[in-house]
Symmetry: C2
Amino acid sequence: MPKSPIADPNEDYPRWYQDVIAKAGLAENGPVRGTMVIRPYGYAIWERIQADIDRRIKAAGADNVYFPLFIPESYLQREAEHVEGFSPELAVVTHAGGKDLTEPVVVRPTSETVFGEQMAKWVNSYRDLPLLLNQWANVVRWEMRPRLFLRTSEFLWQEGHTVHADAEDAAAYALRIHHDVYRDFLVDTLALPVLLGRKTAEERFAGAINTMTCEGITRDRKALQLATSHELGQNFARAFDITYTDEGGTVQTAWTTSWGASTRLVGGLIMGHGDARGLRLPPRIAPTQVAIVVVRDEDGAVDAARQLGDAIAATGARVQVDADTHTGFGRRATDWELKGVPLRIDLGPRDLAEGQATVVRRDTGEKLPIPLGEVPGRIEPLLNEIQAAMLGEATDFRESATTDVASIDEALEAGREGVGRIDWAKLGPEGERRLLDDGVSVRCIQRPDGTVPATEDEPNLQAIVARAY
Amino acid sequence: MPKSPIADPNEDYPRWYQDVIAKAGLAENGPVRGTMVIRPYGYAIWERIQADIDRRIKAAGADNVYFPLFIPESYLQREAEHVEGFSPELAVVTHAGGKDLTEPVVVRPTSETVFGEQMAKWVNSYRDLPLLLNQWANVVRWEMRPRLFLRTSEFLWQEGHTVHADAEDAAAYALRIHHDVYRDFLVDTLALPVLLGRKTAEERFAGAINTMTCEGITRDRKALQLATSHELGQNFARAFDITYTDEGGTVQTAWTTSWGASTRLVGGLIMGHGDARGLRLPPRIAPTQVAIVVVRDEDGAVDAARQLGDAIAATGARVQVDADTHTGFGRRATDWELKGVPLRIDLGPRDLAEGQATVVRRDTGEKLPIPLGEVPGRIEPLLNEIQAAMLGEATDFRESATTDVASIDEALEAGREGVGRIDWAKLGPEGERRLLDDGVSVRCIQRPDGTVPATEDEPNLQAIVARAY
């Protein structure tokens, strides 16, 4: 057995994570501390994530726009909680165009303030509402403990910003985005069985009255916040004077929401599905779904691989032919595993002589000998099977990592080892602070059926507690 | 005749440009001087530009990546011409995460340096070449005289960065991008008959040994640089130590290129096709190709419009139904003109009674009465006709704005009024400097057939001179 190119995840999970990112060619550190260079394979995954989320956002009626990177420092100060939350992480431009600036500008850590300022100009009448906007952009939050994809000083994301006539409409839209965009994308495309719920007051976005979250569970049994949708109440509308004239002619203060998901999703994918052999990509997000690996350049193997590749591509699958036979087969097979490609098809001289191919499932490692002519027709069903199996397996893993507990002490123990589930009434804000002292946080509060409660005061709510990235 | 919502372009072109951007809802100024807020309609155009260029870049074999926004100040200093060219425009972060930085970081004005540093690590052997990368990103160049889309302190663009084994391969690739990506996109999609050529030494990118340009001609007879592709020689490879071992085992210094096109393209589209009624969009780039305008909500007009819309959408055209009848028809028709939608279909009670629609071409203003049932089948041919007609008209305009001249004095006069074309041998670097003193620059040097010369020393080259944005 050759030495694995990556660390054993059971022995050193952080090291395994770094190794996968490096060896699969996803990303590396940039020269300025905390920044990240996203390499072609990592960016190809991100492009597919972007396209899928973008389609869902447009289906929810929001329009894309682009707002400036630079925000006047004074804007952030207009919403008290917001400036307090973000001040420690700001990057500030003090010098530009060869001169010191009269008013320093901050590099956006998020854009509620600059959207607020502009949306106030665009909203005049109830007819202008709802105003539903989104942007794809880079943001900067200076990180003391950076980690590739999970926590970088600069990251890529989409941030939605909307204005509504009343609290109900704002709440309904924030929930719609949380469910129809984020939850559906995470479950259906990334095969990540996320936990849904509200954040506690302690964990809310700075300036929000309600933050809804999708929490992933990593293979080292921690929680990872993957997407959030915020009701901002009238906090930003008041700070930026977003008002409108209602049908009766009265001037009203509007209600706003914001919501975002970032390149952290790539980290969630790695930690949600990866195993000792590297990345495992669900077929719907995999840039390459099928790799055809020519074992040796003999007996027309390369031509046969190309023909098979064309036949598979014609079924709509994303296929790549690896005819790079000056590198050994074993090394290449390991590389495709590392990159998490869902199906590998090994084409060796013996396979060709027997008129068959060996199709290898990345998720289970299963090897299926299939007659060559039948391979193209089997690809789509197999990819669908893998997509479903990966969600099923991740769901089983999550359940196995979750313990129902009845006391604060038990919750602390469960949260240290994995995921704890406890009546929110039994834990409460006081219990939450006790857990926090030991590095365990309330990831979300949810109904017994796993849906998002409308308020923290509904009966029978449960708290999900865990350590978090 | 109601007062036009925009200035007369023949009287005040800069004002007309601003008015079109504001009234068509393309963009507005951001709060920090020189920055831009791109509104939904402007961003929808940019998204289509991006998708088209991205497809062409991928077809040319380059992979997308993402590099950091922040670059150590010291990186820029490694290439002498580069730092000299960009220093006056830099924005500098001196403070981040609550502390003064030990080494200030610059916000990227372009990314040759940070790509250079990383590519040096990725290139080891001739087998790693060519290395073909591209990124879509925001960049910052502090602008003293900002103008929306044309010249903003922050703009969006793509920047390609490639490494090659020798000068020939680098030159061929830079030319391929210039022609197959930029020229083809500008001519075939934006219907802009750009002039192609090399920049003179005076006008080259800071650090390049050759800059190739696509120059658009605006309706006020100036030149607008729309995309450039640079051979960087070994300047950056030397500065960042990009070397490789060749087949014979010898270490060689590599050759690099870079190339970019930005949100300035939206400005080029406005100035290349706009008229007294506003924007005119070539069908291939128009987010909405057909607007069906319900004149009055009578006799089932709205239903008829929706049915027609569905039938047109089924042909593959991008169609929008305007049933916003509480706003007057005249105002809405003017708005669709302002937005430059290629075809407007007016559906009034009389049209419906007669079983026909009035199809209005935005490019010519022509009104075509067409029997309702025939409309869907006519859309695609009409859109193709408009696309070709707009390129033809812009080409005629460019030719009418161009004067062939034989002396430096004549070149100066021609360049002040429009475009001058003169033997490069007659003008030369000395003549170029004389023109520059009067605000006229050499936009490019080209062969008599309009193609790009391999060197400045080919015989019979002509210089294109004009004032420029």
